[in-house]
Symmetry: C2
Subunit: 150 residues, 2 copies
């Protein structure tokens, strides 16, 4: 086991704290302005970027950035609200797709401006070009080691 | 509104993905090896580092790094398991403290090795000294702008 030195542990804790503080703020803003939870925004983005606006539930689970554990209930709620619909996979009886509905796409478009402005205000604008390059290199190294990443 | 350029947005998304991937892995390991959810580990750490092993619920909410929204239920569960106890604030009738119990402290000690080894394996060891300095500077800038941070 390599030693986890104090500097690296401090970087890890700052990483977690930054995530907690910034996502709490983005979440609050999006709820206040659009009544949309950040976890739902995340699902809408992942589906919107997928081919045909659809993903198998397992694929969606691998792509969402928040609340992986509560995904089934979350998609149930979004289905009840008409933002997503479920569809059986024709070639796999056990599988289900989550599919973005037109209402879901509209909801995403309405929310995107607020959200991206928040990402800029609470995160991006505080970073120099050098910070941005350094972060991307560091995260790429971590994600590469975790095999997946994108 | 400043423009959120593509490079900064990519850094933001890599930040979220790294957080999702690494915390999912740490959470899985800690549950498997010690039966302790990462969100509970987080509460135990925050209490352990507080004076007297106690924090008002509001203070605890500001310090935890995961699940701020579900904190009350989480502390209820941990109280039922004997890891935490609640105590009325004597000088404030509305306030409640969460207090680390000896069992909670023991649970934390048992879990810390696994967790810190995981932080090293999944995050810290993939970062050069330069990466670590760059991350700390970038997160410090973001946290300073969000007023709080520590």
């Amino acid at each position: 086991m390599a030693e986890l030195d104090a500097t690296r542990l401090a970087a890890w804790r700052a990483f977690l704290r930054t995530h907690a503080v910034v996502t709490a703020e983005l979440s609050r803003e999006l709820e206040e302005a659009r009544g949309l939870p950040l976890v739902q925004y995340d699902v809408l983005v992942q589906l919107d970027e997928a081919e045909g606006g659809r993903l198998r539930m397992q694929q969606l689970a691998a792509r969402v950035l928040f609340s992986r554990s509560g995904l089934t209930r979350l998609v149930d709620r979004m289905t009840a609200e008409g933002l997503v619909r479920r569809e059986r996979c024709e070639d796999d009886r056990r599988g289900t797709y989550a599919v973005l509905t037109p209402a879901g796409r509209r909801r995403l478009r309405e929310a995107a401006g607020i959200h991206l402005r928040g990402v800029d205000a609470h995160f991006a604008r505080h970073l120099s070009g050098r910070d941005v390059r350094a972060l991307r290199a560091a995260f790429a190294a971590v994600l590469a080691a975790e095999d997946g990443g994108d």
